[in-house]
């Protein structure tokens, strides 16, 4: 589906409040206010290649604090979607694979099957034993179900119209 950007990066006056409050700024190659600056300058390609858009945790701290009301978190979403759709090489492939795998999981039945979602994600990133001790412990506590949730009638077909 088409991705449109509703946010105007030219409203930004570079106060960097987004970057100072960002909980994951130290994981980023470009700071959030630098991403917005790139967009205002028409240098979107550099933003699309950044690690920043993939490390954003989606906490919305920047979005609700921005004095110019730019929803920076949603800008990150738009850039991520654009980068993925355009096949830009992803500096954090685990994050991309996690989201794709998650969507693929609930697309089957309409609801997430947590045990399968986590197992398949591990396989897709080539780390079958990541968090291996967690799964069995959660199963024992009754927090994970081996059987999938009941499928929502018609959901799979409905979802095919929306997601390739």
């Amino acid at each position: 589906m088409a991705v449109e950007r509703n946010e105007n990066p030219c409203l930004c006056y570079q106060c960097a409040k987004c970057s100072t409050g960002c909980p994951v700024s130290e994981e980023m190659d470009l700071l959030p206010h630098q991403i917005i600056h790139l967009l205002a300058l028409g240098m979107e390609e550099k933003a699309l290649r950044s690690k920043t858009i993939w490390m954003c945790a989606g906490c919305y701290t920047c979005a609700v604090r921005c004095p110019n009301d730019i929803d920076i978190t949603s800008v990150m979403d738009d850039l991520r979607g654009k980068a993925a759709a355009a096949g830009v090489e992803c500096p954090c492939p685990q994050v991309l694979k996690f989201h794709q795998n998650f969507i693929r999981d609930f697309a089957r039945r309409g609801r997430v099957h947590e045990a399968r979602m986590m197992g398949e994600y591990n396989m897709r990133i080539g780390k079958p034993f990541q968090n291996a001790s967690l799964g069995p412990k959660m199963l024992l506590k009754g927090r994970l179900h081996l059987l999938p949730p009941k499928a929502i009638r018609g959901f799979k077909r409905w979802m095919k119209k929306l997601w390739r």
Binding site: M1, A2, V3, E4, P23, V24, E27, M55, A57, G58, C59, Y60, T61, A63, V64, D69, D71, T73, S74, D77, D78, R80, G81, A84, C92, Q94, V95, F98, H99, Q100, F102, I103, F106, G110, R111, V112, E114, M118, Y121, N131, L134, K137, M138, K141, G142, R143, L144, H145, P149, I152, R153, F155, W158, K161, L162, W163
Partner: protein, 289 residues
């Protein structure tokens, strides 16, 4: 005074699986308070952190489907106890309800007819503003006096962009007042609305464990007996690998993580089994002080 049920409950995937303790305790508590609760039928996933991360229209369509169900099944409001489901439903409803052109476009893509009138409610908002502290306190049979709690709201309960928030975004108090009504001492602390890392827990472990360690460290420093949450993702991230994270970051004391409705259930005399307290990795016990 029984309330007319104009609100449907939306459980969400986690509350049917890894966070079933949140769901069961909520049902128990609403029952104890004589609040009628009906569950939305045929609901589907809200898209969680993943749909909006890659495709905004997919995020809108998924939530429009659920909002349409709320409308078709004759409810005016929907309450999603999970903070992530709440955020997705509320942010989508905020955009779709206020923009007829956008609504038409997503309705068309999804083959649905959502009219744009459903109100999405947060569980803390509902408990604090609709049920009210007085009524919450009145039902207490086993006060939790002596228990010190750090109320952790996380990101998604108070940060729906551009929408009026039911509480202060930076230093909310609704949960503090709710647990206060149970006899709990709610502590002043600095990490109420700091991020736990969300899905970075699975994709960028070191970043997520650093964020979790800061939250645990401050709760420990303030003398918290437990951290109270209203989000399955916060619960999972703070609880399941706490022992490893504490060892890595040198945090001395284990801190149990409980859902706000589990604490309410305890104060209402509901059983620990029913409340699924044993689901947590860090054991929580309150013998009274």
């Amino acid at each position: 005074m029984a309330m007319k049920s104009k609100m449907a409950l939306y459980p969400g995937c986690s509350l049917e699986g890894s966070a079933s303790g949140f769901w069961e305790s909520l049902e128990g508590v609403l029952g104890a308070l004589d609040v009628p609760c009906e569950t939305l039928r045929d609901w589907s996933c809200c898209g969680a952190t993943s749909a909006h991360a890659l495709d905004k229209d997919l995020h809108l369509a998924l939530n429009l489907r659920n909002l349409t169900l709320v409308q078709e099944q004759g409810y005016e409001e929907v309450m999603a106890p999970c903070a992530a489901c709440y955020h997705r439903l509320a942010s989508a409803a905020h955009e779709l309800n206020g923009d007829a052109v956008l609504r038409d476009r997503i309705n068309q893509a999804a083959g649905l007819q959502y009219g744009g009138e459903v109100v999405v409610r947060n569980v803390l908002d509902f408990l604090f503003n609709d049920v009210g502290v007085e009524r919450i306190a009145k039902r207490v049979t086993a006060p939790l006096a002596g228990l010190k709690a750090a109320c952790y709201y996380g990101c998604l309960n108070t940060r729906v962009p551009r929408m009026d928030c039911f509480d202060d975004r930076e230093y909310p108090m609704s949960m503090d007042h709710i647990v206060g009504a149970l006899g709990v001492e709610a502590l002043d602390w600095s990490y109420k609305t700091d991020c736990c890392g969300a899905s970075l827990f699975l994709t960028a472990e070191s970043a997520s464990s650093r964020l979790v360690s800061k939250i645990l460290r401050d709760a420990e420093a303030q003398g918290a007996d437990c951290i109270v949450v209203a989000c399955p993702m916060c619960h999972n991230n703070l609880d399941t690998k706490q022992a490893e994270i504490r060892a890595e970051h040198g945090i001395g004391r284990a801190i149990p993580i409980v859902f706000v409705t589990q604490l309410m259930g305890l104060a209402y005399g509901l059983g620990e089994r029913e409340l699924k307290l044993a689901h947590s990795f860090v054991p929580f016990q309150f013998a009274g002080k």
